[in-house]
Symmetry: C2
């Protein structure tokens, strides 16, 4: 789940993941006002351990963005196991919409990041590759619009997150997106 290139010792790696999970929950429940010591408390580590991994709140947020990207990739990989490609697309879209729904606070917090700072290029490429595979199968089935690519699907999923953030009904927005994706 980490995006650093230098490997960490196993215990440091475990702490890092605990901090990220705690921060994810903290931002989701309490919003961007959350303090680093509250993250440390939730993770059950000292505040020094948090600062050793993440020198400031922005560094933690950048890593959280990558962490969420990986969550999205796991969702796509699970969905890819569906026997039919349309079922995989539906499962992926609904799964991600559900996930986003649960962490409005985190979403608002990530929106405060400088543009260009919440990228995780390797994770993004893997996700696009996985979605391209699902979309290619759906083209063979003839279940999605002919011009759709995995990259488009990812862009539409980002847009769905924004639309959910505006307070409209997630299930309804998801239905609109899925109906729009269906082959005509």
């Amino acid at each position: 789940m980490q995006v650093r290139t230098r490997p960490l010792r196993a215990d440091a790696q475990r702490n890092r993941e605990r901090i990220l999970r705690a921060a994810h929950a903290a931002f989701a429940e309490e919003g961007s006002a959350i303090q680093i010591d509250s993250v440390a408390h939730r993770a059950g580590v000292g505040i020094g351990t948090v600062y050793r991994h993440f020198p400031d709140k922005e560094a933690l947020l950048v890593e959280l963005a990558a962490f969420r990207f990986l969550g999205c990739l796991q969702e796509a990989e699970l969905a890819a196991g569906e026997p039919d490609a349309w079922g995989a697309i539906e499962r992926f879209v609904r799964g991600v919409a559900h996930e986003r729904l649960l962490d409005a606070g985190l979403r608002d917090t990530l929106a405060t990041l400088s543009p260009g700072r919440c990228h995780a290029p390797a994770e993004r490429d893997k996700l696009v590759h996985c979605l391209d595979g699902i979309v290619a199968r759906a083209h063979v089935e003839g279940t999605v619009r002919r011009d759709l690519t995995g990259r488009d699907l990812l862009a539409l999923i980002s847009g769905l997150g924004t639309a959910i953030n505006q307070g409209a009904e997630p299930a309804m927005l998801t239905d609109v997106l899925l109906a729009g994706l269906r082959a005509g």
Copy 2:
């Protein structure tokens, strides 16, 4: 086009609008690195005049967000003049998508604003009211999904902006949205 409650003298009001239009163009073309003196130069006013209206760059951005909201409202009001409601929805969605396409720099810049700072509640209410009217007509026509409201349409438009920002083909994304909105 202004959102201040205290009225300005006519010449001050004109300057304010010139500055906003210049800032809109400047951010759209040059991105968030733009300097206030470049905005003043484009607007043909002194830098002191810019600072009198907008004490810092964030104040200018907040006002620009409201300015864009009003642009969206004008787009909706124009679209509402279409003889059929589906035509109005299509015109509104395509018009706003086209507008967003033209100012990626501004969009990225606005994304750096603190959450909650880019609201213009009065302008937003007017826009939702206008969209509710169009959607109600479309329900009578039977051309849009039964559960759609003006607020949903606005949320979906925000999402469309995000999706366009990810670099996917705007015309294709707009088609997906419109197909998803259609009844049946």
